[in-house]
């Protein structure tokens, strides 16, 4: 899906846990997620902490969308 969106002319960021697959399938902007069953969350944290974590990941994704890339790039969450 990620390639078709990009091919159609819209920049896309892929938030996913298994970044090697994302690299293999050809996403250009990639943000690593937490775990497969909860990519943007962590049930071990409190609701508040969890939301902060999710917000950080999403903000990294927005940063990725705002960054020029010439090749496949992984944007680590700070």
């Amino acid at each position: 899906m990620v390639k078709e969106i990009e091919r159609a002319g819209i920049p896309v960021v892929h938030i996913c846990t298994v970044t090697p697959i994302s690299l293999t399938v050809g996403a250009n902007r990639i943000v690593p997620a937490v775990a497969i069953p909860h990519p943007l969350g962590n049930p071990k944290l409190s609701r508040g902490e969890e939301k902060t974590l999710r917000r950080k990941i999403v903000q990294t994704a927005l940063k990725a969308l705002s960054t020029e890339v010439s090749d496949q790039t992984i944007f680590e969450v700070d």
Partner: protein, 426 residues
């Protein structure tokens, strides 16, 4: 470590009292089994049915299949860490009721449960159409949550297999096979001119309800480790996981791991089969990186020249497979991979979610998306209510005339990634 497997062939199964084996017939006392299972308070009811090869019978939704065995000599007992206490198994003597299998069914727990047809076009895709099956229909107590439900069902299957296996304790096996793996140094001395070969088994551990268990330990919590290959013959690894029915390894397949058997068949002739390494397929990327690092490290540490790697499941575990392929190859070790494919119903899609150039020797268990039409069966053990929900089914896939369309995905053991079957794809 040396293990003798004594096979007692079972040609037929019947209900009878007491449970016993006579002239190749396994007589099963259903009441005894029910009593055994009902000791578990989580189970509300249990029933026993029999399904024989060639009968117009469908078993679904199938959770696990287990082979009745008994340890007659040597340390430990069957299924250490779950049914028997923890003790290293894989040496001594074990008796097998060859041709019999315990199959568990009942209300669905997760999506990933399967279909076994004892005859018709579906039968050729599942190895368990050729076994005499003692089927347990289990109903958990209503309030039981899915994880507990799964444990109860799993334990019922294992305990019943152990109970039936016990009937073989004092029987004389018709045939005996011996398997031996020498400790590292002795093996090197004895087979010093032969290439050193290992087997890396990837165990499903994605936390779909539950996972694979090794001596009772959840495989998601293990670091890659080394087994004597005979340990699995005594039930060191059992299935508790829920991935698609076609390519998860039922406990029966762990007990009869065909890669272990086929490597032993040429051990001492074409190579020295040194060890088995087990690793996992976890959902965190760091786990994937760590486990593949360790797997490659153990292969190197054992000075292996060649390795067979088998996957379990599909999707993100394809990445674990490719990481293992790349890292083991980087150690200068030759690899062959065993997997299956999800190439779409028309076969024209990408088969695996990941790829790497090092994966140049792949054996395929076939395309799991291939659609098959299963005719109506004379009898259904379990329930057909779930054939639309299980992985490989879809909404309204049951026709008014009773035929069912499913992908091979839904058939238990259809695209085995340890090569238990004959299916492949090109």
């Amino acid at each position: 470590m040396k293990l003798e497997l004594g096979y007692i062939p079972i040609h037929n199964i019947q209900f009878g009292d007491p449970s016993r084996v006579e002239d190749g017939v396994l007589y099963v006392n259903a009441e005894d089994i029910k009593t055994l299972i009902m000791k578990d308070e989580r189970v509300a009811s249990a029933e026993v049915e029999l399904a024989r090869p060639g009968e117009s019978v469908r078993i679904t939704p199938v959770k696990d299949v287990v082979e009745p065995r008994v340890k007659v000599d040597g340390p430990g007992g069957l299924f250490p860490g779950t049914v028997s206490r923890v003790k290293t198994v894989g040496s001594g003597k074990t008796h097998v009721l060859k041709g019999a299998a315990v199959v568990t069914t009942g209300r669905i727990v997760g999506f990933q449960e399967g279909i076994i047809d004892m005859s018709g076009p579906g039968a050729q895709y599942t190895p368990f159409s050729k076994t005499n099956n003692i089927v347990l229909i289990l109903r958990p107590r209503d309030e039981l949550e899915p994880h507990e439900h799964e444990v109860a069902v799993r334990m019922a299957g294992l305990k019943t297999a152990a109970y039936l296996g016990e009937l073989a304790r004092n029987l004389t096996p018709e045939t005996i096979e011996t398997f031996e793996t020498l400790p590292l140094k002795e093996g090197m001395e004895q087979y010093k001119d032969l290439p050193r070969v290992g087997y890396v088994q990837m165990l499903q551990s994605q936390g779909l309800l539950h996972d694979t268990y090794v001596y009772g330990v959840d495989a998601k919590q293990i670091l890659p480790t080394i087994l004597y290959p005979t340990e699995v013959m005594d039930g060191a690894i059992i299935s508790g996981n829920c991935v698609s029915a076609c390519d998860k390894n039922p406990t029966y397949v762990h007990q009869n791991n065909p890669i272990v058997h086929d490597l032993f068949a040429r051990h001492g002739k074409d190579f020295n089969f040194c060890a088995m390494i087990i690793t996992n397929e976890n959902v965190y990327l760091a786990d994937k990186a760590r486990s593949s690092d360790w797997t490659a490290k153990l292969c190197e540490f054992l000075s292996l020249d060649g390795v067979i790697v088998s996957e379990e499941g599909f999707g993100n575990p394809d990445t674990d497979l490719m990481m293992n392929a790349r890292k083991i190859t980087d150690k200068g070790i030759k690899i062959v991979l065993l997997t299956d494919e999800y190439a779409g119903q028309d076969g024209s899609s990408q088969s695996l979610a990941d790829a790497h150039v090092s994966a140049d020797a792949v054996v395929s268990g076939g395309n799991a998306n291939q659609v098959i039409t299963l005719p109506r069966m004379g009898k259904v053990i379990g329930s057909e209510a779930y054939v639309g929900t299980i992985a490989g089914g879809w909404d309204k896939n049951k026709q008014p005339d009773g035929t069912i369309m499913v992908e091979l995905q839904a058939i238990t053991g259809a695209t085995s990634e340890v090569g238990f079957g004959y299916l492949s794809a090109r």
